[in-house]
């Protein structure tokens, strides 16, 4: 039995894995996404400094987050 390449789904996957340059787009998307997510995480952690609390701690303990 021949492989049913004429089916659109297989044609699409053939195009997807064989088209030069799509791999580069994949690398750009993944690394770009990782950089954006990483920056957002750092920004979110930094944002905790704007809470205006009076007490600061040099290190945490499990008791610090008991009320959360």
């Amino acid at each position: 039995m021949n492989f049913p390449m004429q089916l659109p789904v297989f044609s699409f996957f053939y195009w997807l894995v064989n088209t030069p340059g799509l791999g580069g787009i994949c690398i750009a998307l993944l690394s770009g996404g990782a950089i954006i997510v990483g920056s957002l995480i750092v920004r979110w952690v930094q944002g905790g400094g704007d809470s205006g609390e009076s007490e600061t701690y040099s290190y945490p303990t499990p008791a610090l987050h008991k009320e959360e």
């Binding site: 997807l16 894995v17 952690v45 930094q46 040099s58 945490p60």
Partner: protein, 526 residues
């Protein structure tokens, strides 16, 4: 202003701002000289092409690729120690997480450099982006490597953030302006509020969860670069987990070496102790056993099937041109396993027995050396005919192995008393053994291709110089980084101190006894 414990300030913060001594500068100059030599060799390779290396048809990958796999393997240490132990809340991890994470980031960066060396023309790296197709395992590797590097840098930075703020707030008055600016900039205005700590710890947990599958994927995908080909010896389904196990194993070995160097050079007796070596040693033993099992399994199928193209690859490792690297690897791994396991099994009663005395080890080593010398040295023709038949030779080597085993027994108690020395010795054996293992995977297959004549590969001086320069670069990165940032995670150790102190004050009661069964006691003597 964030306060730092006076003990931590003396041991971890103040030395960062002290003027570096002559030993530091000597190490920097030496490492820079090796890197400079490597750079000149790279320029030579760039000018004259890859003909300057030992690589030629059909050996397209040489020690650059061996170094690449070895270094990304070593980088697994951070993922395991920092992420996995953090998620499972293992207390002893605290003083070594920073070293492990740094090893991950620097190992990955130097590993990426090997690809640049290997490709010959660096401008062709862009071809991966420009013409890369999704069906290529090389492209999957590029994806995974990029993601792993970015995630590891983020993990290291998040763990470092509170310590950077501590350095910023505890900078001495005479500290140079650029260091103040560096800590202020990187500290991101960290104050240590309750909400800030909450966010940071959540972020660290998320990154720790993400980095484990990313790390495993990188090692697996690197194995797919080999196993998705039809090259003899590579097309194996077990290569993926084998790479992961080897990576964790070499990572722990390298961690033993780096943490001991940090402990001895920076006098960190208070932080890195025997219990850390013991705990990491158990992991090491498990990985060692798994590695032996996978090595056996990997080669078993080749022995069993004796396929026409596959078997010569194995034969070259067992008794052919690569037997030295294969048996060298096995010997190093056996020695590492011995060092870590045998001293733990010996009862204290045996200490006074002469076989377990260091002087017996010395005598046995001497006997092994003398026997090996006679076996290796060329014999006169008549003696050669008389003695060097197969049985005499085999008996001679068995005698050498026996003497070495006796030396191992003799030194066992000494190793038991010196966990750091024994861990470093075992770690060094594993690091060297794992490099040889990567060599045994890459080179014998390429020199034994299908259909074309077999060949041999030897690295050229250019390749050896670039490999040495890569190691020097790794060492220099550590040296500079740990002159700017604390080698021990101050906030994690402080937290651990409070937790351990609280735990030591809690008295854990005995378990509740079960009710005695009347039928069970019936008929028994009172």
């Amino acid at each position: 202003m964030l306060k730092v414990n006076p003990r931590d300030k003396t041991r971890l913060v103040d030395p960062l701002f002290a003027a570096p001594g002559w030993r530091f500068w000597l190490a920097v100059v030496f490492l820079l000289a090796v890197i400079g030599w490597g750079a000149s060799m790279y320029l030579r390779q760039l000018t004259y092409g890859l003909g300057e290396t030992g690589m030629d048809r059909p050996v397209y990958w040489g020690i650059y690729m061996v170094n690449f796999i070895f270094l990304i393997g070593v980088s697994m240490a951070g993922t395991l120690i920092s992420a996995a132990l953090q998620l499972t809340n293992i207390e002893w991890r605290r003083p070594i997480t920073r070293i492990a994470e740094t090893l991950t980031v620097f190992g990955l960066l130097v590993a990426s450099l090997q690809l640049l060396f290997d490709i010959g023309r660096p401008d062709r790296l862009l071809n991966v982006v420009q013409y890369g197709r999704l069906q290529s395992p090389l492209l999957w590797d590029a994806n995974s490597l990029t993601l792993y590097i970015l995630t590891s840098i983020l993990a290291l930075y998040l763990q470092l953030l509170p310590d950077i703020a501590l350095l910023r707030d505890n900078c001495p008055a005479n500290a140079p302006w650029w260091r103040r600016a560096l800590y202020t900039r990187l500290g991101l205005g960290w104050k240590g509020y309750r909400s800030q700590w909450g966010r940071l710890q959540k972020a660290i947990t998320v990154i720790s969860i993400a980095i484990i599958p990313i790390g495993v994927s990188l090692h697996t995908i690197t194995s797919w670069v080999f196993s998705t080909t039809v090259q003899p010896g590579w097309k194996s389904t077990i290569l993926g987990p084998y790479f992961v196990i080897g990576a964790i194993f070499s990572g722990i070995g390298m961690l033993f070496i780096v943490m001991t160097l940090a402990w001895r050079l920076l006098k960190l007796d208070e932080y890195i102790q025997a219990r850390h070596y013991r705990a990491l040693g158990w992991l090491f033993i498990v990985m060692s056993a798994l590695w032996f099992y996978f090595t056996y399994t990997e080669n078993l199928t080749l022995v069993a099937e004796q396929e026409a193209y596959e078997f010569p690859v194995l034969a070259s490792k067992l008794w052919g041109s690569y037997s030295f690297s294969f048996w060298g690897m096995v010997a190093l791994m056996v020695v590492a396993f011995w060092i870590m396991v045998v001293p733990k099994l010996l009862p204290a009663l045996l200490r006074r027995v002469v076989v377990f005395q260091p002087r017996f080890a010395l005598a046995s080593t001497g006997a092994a050396l003398v026997a090996a010398f006679f076996l290796i040295s060329p014999q006169p023709a008549v003696t050669h005919a008389a003695l060097m038949d197969l049985n005499t030779n085999t008996f001679g080597w068995l005698m050498v192995i026996g003497f070495v085993a006796c030396a191992g027994l003799g030194i066992s108690f000494w190793l038991k008393q010196h966990p750091a020395v024994s861990s470093v010795a075992a770690g060094a054996c594993v690091v060297a053994g794992m490099w040889l293992e990567r060599w045994n995977i890459v080179i014998p297959t390429l020199t034994h291709p299908r259909l074309i004549p077999y060949t041999i590969y030897l690295p050229s001086p250019v390749e050896i110089s670039l490999s040495a320069a890569s190691l020097a670069l790794l060492a220099l990165m550590f040296l500079v980084f740990f002159k700017l940032f604390p080698v021990i995670s101050i906030w994690e150790v402080s937290e651990g101190r409070v937790v351990e102190d609280a735990q030591s004050r809690v008295e854990i009661p005995l378990p509740e006894p079960n009710e005695p069964n009347p039928l069970q006691s019936w008929g028994s003597r009172r």
